[in-house]
Symmetry: C2
Subunit: 637 residues, 2 copies
């Protein structure tokens, strides 16, 4: 019996591509979408054989649209059409067909007449050993809620007629799924799952373009599924996600993302003591606590590395260590640690790896593997630590670390000549005390995948997505946090203008300080390539916040930016782009402030463009788009 | 006095980029958007000076949000904020500020109190020689229609307080703009113009992401503007378009597109005898009638050209001519003419030029120039025709031709050895009689620009945009027609999957026939590389249409596809991709059928992918994305 199914419509490509991808990702069933079959050269019986070879059952054929009709001639033609589709199903060896509530102008309004027509269809299906799963589309002409579809199915009262429930259609309408528990299990023929962001738009467009896999959006899928399972639904959990990105992305990648979403959903159901069926899959180990940023690694070419090293030193970092076997240097200040790697072939600079403090690194890695995240192989030298690492969707390596462990990652490094050793803490000028957050620009196609990765694999909490109207295009911005770890995922909507500085999109490391003004003053004195922020920004700050004039003057003098919300205030400043897509920030966060001054990003971007035009060391040089994914060239693998 | 203005928010980049682009495109005024100024290092007085140097006046500073408030302390802070912005305006040398109706939870509901607060602001503005243009946002908390804003302005009754009208806010709400005529001209302070597609979505999201330039969307801008001018509005026509594509595209390109939209709008106003002001711009010559496709030119490398030539010959074309001085061959059949150009550096194959029959080619070219379309320079050889040509947004050359003219484009060609001469008509096997349509895949960023280009510059009619859920991503599809010319513009939403065959997106030429079945039979016998369409497609045709069994059998045998609508039927078949992104179609259209079987496109794409996987001559080979725009390498330039 199928455990994990996926509708072919979730995946890009031809039917053959989709089946291969679903099987490779570990699905054991599919919903076969009619247009995929119509475009395929394989006769139904060969599709069946191929699925069998791939270990896939065909759990649903879909959809059959607009069955009922107020026009008797049209209804008769619809029954004829259904018989032809039953022929197809016989070839496919599948016994269930999805029938959607009608959306046409001639749709039947009278529930008894719809029931009568569905009964007539069910009778024909029964004669061929098939069954009809009736689904209320949220935009059906008359039947548009699950209650409505259940009312019709009850009236029709035929053993070959039951319901298909789709989480999107139920939750997008705001229906209370608790009522599902009252439906007899024998009438629950199929369950389709989709998440979605909360959007204020026409529900049809919302459904056709913006569905997401469970855990990527805003719906409470675990609660929904719990109700369906509570009613006794015995069938598979099946994904049906219409999404513009997934329609054009490599289906193997999408299928892995989809499977991860189901595994994570299943885990939540187990936690809620609502295991979906007897065949509980292997349960991934619970995510160990993440307590902070151990280090962040930047890969750079020699020119980029020189500029980053110079900026770090001007910010008060010291070169405290050198890797035993690789061209990697360690820069430290307080608890902030940056690895600068000139080994891999890199153009400019980019963030290659995140080192995250895990309470149990091996268990973090085991969980990642159980959720289909690619573990990274690693070459160890003698006396080097064995670090567990996985690749994030954008190719960034994520290392699970314990910096305080005697055999931790620091043993890979020897003290740099003249540095004060690699002892923990207290290193450097004392301006910054740690990494506040890291901002990782995602390829647009991987924005939702990345949020699910950090949520499901690492156990982090995503915040809602925000949008920023930035100078080079609209930017999406989503924060994920866990313990002391904060990541800002960004993506350019459509894409960052090709004529903008920093293509692909800039990334940054933000260091925490308790004195942004003092740090900025010292860094400027030391020649740090900090951005200059114009008077207009400060005049606007004054108009908005009526700041203390002395504070305003000092912010203005030092190019420190300022934001505040109900919880507190935030002071921050940034460098120019350092030889590629990476720059550095320093931030001072009052305890109650929970943002990252996203609304200041356009001002910062404009300042970085000015630096580029001024030719300040090539800070905004264009790098080739092909560099996405080269992040996996990490030092510590 | 300003004639054509554009809001800086329409354009991508920093303020400096935007001002340069607006001036280069011929605008003489701007609306200065506050975030652009805040991010700029230029003090207001320097912005003013730069604008003066560029020939730009600053006609509006915008916006000032959420002025009114039920909280007296907040209102006092808002007045203080306004004074700071008045300081900025003094520096800028602009006298009008846009104040939007409030969207906050503390917005005032009582129109008399809003009027009182606006009066207080107007009094302060008056003291500084400034004025307030009050605008109803369509999503304002209480004031959300132009009637509502006019009611408040009337109650406030202050000479420094008037209205800003925005076509989007008025037309998106379905308000009748005729009522604008009743507003005194002295109270019409500013006019903002935006078009938009009809979308069923939250009006704020619609406004912030999907506005278009006039003529690109579904609003009747000429009628709207006529009402405003009829009321006596004396100011500029000013564009305010929030659009995700334009936010990230090269601003020089967007500004040209924007100016073209205003020139075309102005032309329509003149035709309606409602000239906008005294300073009527130079009027472009009316578009000459386009009566048909003279030729279509394909650029190809040697391998691609061989495959295309072979396919053309198998479809019944003959090589009828050879260019006098360039490596271009002419293929003809009836009135269908294809130029095959192996001169420019091309990888694979792509459509390089459209030859369109114009009633008056020089006037077509003059109109194009007046509407800022780039005229293409041309090298002529002795005894070669002087063809007028412009570049379409995607780089395709558009030639204006008179095939029947004694000194027309055919004089460039000498009869090919062994061909029956280059006399008009009757050439070839007689299967196809002309070019039915040409499908040009557009880069996503240029889809709306292209529709406006064909509409405004060539006088063609765009149909509404449709969307197709295709195997490699959602495709937008928009037909533009004029006389015997039909173009299908497509664009992949987001983009065509990088792993799909034919990247960039495929293009095709569709030849008209009166016997698709006979042509397919002959072409297959001659070895044309036609696609094979599987039985599932024909089984579905049968389920849907209950076709005559003999017809169905013949369609099935020959791989001819079938569509029908209320007006008639359509039969069509296609080749594989021919060495690049180009393929050929043959279509049989009954007179009342007005489509192009867009819903069959997914089946065709899947068949093309199969050919590629089967390695059929490299039909689906990937070509570099950098080839966009190389179309301009046309033979006939």
């Amino acid at each position: 019996m199928t455990t994990h199914a996926i509708a072919t419509v979730c995946l890009s490509g031809t039917l053959e591509d989709k089946l291969d991808a679903a099987a490779a990702a570990g699905f054991d069933g599919v919903e076969l979408f009619e247009p995929d079959l119509v475009a395929s050269p394989l006769p139904p019986a060969e599709v069946r054989a191929r699925c069998t070879d791939l270990g896939l059952s065909i759990d649903l054929y879909q959809p059959f649209r607009d069955l009922d009709s107020t026009d008797p001639e049209r209804f008769a033609a619809n029954l004829r059409r259904a018989e032809r589709k039953f022929d197809v199903m016989a070839g496919l060896g599948t016994d269930t067909v999805l029938v959607c509530s009608s959306v046409g102008a001639d749709a039947v309004a009278d529930p008894d007449l719809i029931a009568e027509q569905l009964h007539a269809l069910a009778e024909r299906a029964h004669a061929r050993g098939l069954r009809i799963a009736y689904e209320a589309l949220a935009w059906g002409t008359h039947v548009d809620t699950y209650d409505g579809s259940w009312d019709v199915v009850r009236r029709a009262d035929h053993p070959s007629l039951g319901l298909c429930l789709d989480s999107f259609h139920v939750l997008s309408r705001g229906s209370d799924p608790a009522g599902i528990r009252a439906i007899p299990a024998a009438k629950l023929f199929f369950l389709q799952l989709a998440d979605a962001p909360r959007l204020r738009m026409d529900v049809l467009q919302w459904s056709r373009h913006h569905r997401l896999f469970p855990g990527q959006g805003a719906f409470d899928l675990p609660a929904f599924v719990e109700h369906v399972l509570g009613a006794g639904y015995p069938g598979p959990l099946s994904l049906e996600v219409f999404n513009d990105v997934y329609r054009q992305s490599d289906p193997r990648r999408t299928a892995t993302d989809a499977m991860r979403s189901l595994l994570a959903l299943r885990e939540q159901l187990v936690r809620r003591a609502a295991p979906p069926d007897g065949t509980v899959a292997v349960r991934p180990p619970a995510p160990p606590a993440l307590t902070g940023h151990a280090f962040t690694e930047i890969a750079a070419d020699d020119a980029g590395a020189a500029r980053i090293a110079g900026a770090l030193e001007a910010l008060g970092f010291v070169r405290s260590g050198r890797h035993r076997s690789k061209p990697v240097e360690l820069f430290e200040q307080g608890g902030a640690r940056v690895l600068l790697n000139t080994g891999p072939p890199a153009a400019g600079s980019e963030i290659a790896a995140l080192g995250l403090e895990s309470a149990d690194p091996p268990r973090s890695a085991a969980r990642a593997a159980a959720l289909h995240a690619p573990l990274l192989p690693r070459r160890r030298g003698p006396a080097e630590a064995d670090l567990a690492a996985v690749a994030a969707p954008d190719g960034t390596s994520v290392f699970f670390c314990r910096t305080d462990s005697p055999d931790g990652w620091r043993t890979d490094f020897v003290a740099a000549p003249g540095a004060g050793g690699t002892g923990a803490g207290g290193t450097g000028a004392g301006f910054v005390h740690g990494i506040d957050h890291v901002a990782l620009a995602q390829p647009y196609d991987q924005f939702d995948e990345a949020a699910l990765f950090y949520r499901a694999v690492l156990g982090m909490e995503p915040e809602p997505t925000a949008e920023i109207a930035a100078p080079f295009g609209v930017v999406r911005d989503r924060v994920v946090t866990a313990g002391g770890v904060r990541l800002v995922l960004t993506a350019s909507l459509l894409r960052r203008g090709g004529w903008a500085p920093g293509v692909p999109d800039p990334q940054y490391i933000a260091f925490g300080t308790t004195d942004a003004l003092g740090t900025a003053r010292a860094a400027r004195a030391a020649g740090a390539p900090l951005l200059d922020i114009g008077d207009n920004y400060y005049d606007d700050l004054d108009a908005r916040y009526a700041l203390d004039p002395d504070l305003l003057a000092e912010l203005r003098e030092l190019g420190v930016m300022y934001d505040r919300d109900a919880g507190g205030e935030y002071r921050h400043f940034a460098t120019e782009l350092l030889g590629g897509r990476v720059f550095l920030q320093v931030v001072q966060r009052s305890p109650g402030y929970d943002g990252h001054a996203a609304t200041d990003a356009p001002v910062r971007m404009a300042a970085q463009r000015r630096r580029r035009l001024a030719g300040a060391g090539g800070g905004g040089q264009r790098t080739s788009a092909g560099r996405f994914g080269s992040n996996a060239q990490s030092s510590t693998r």
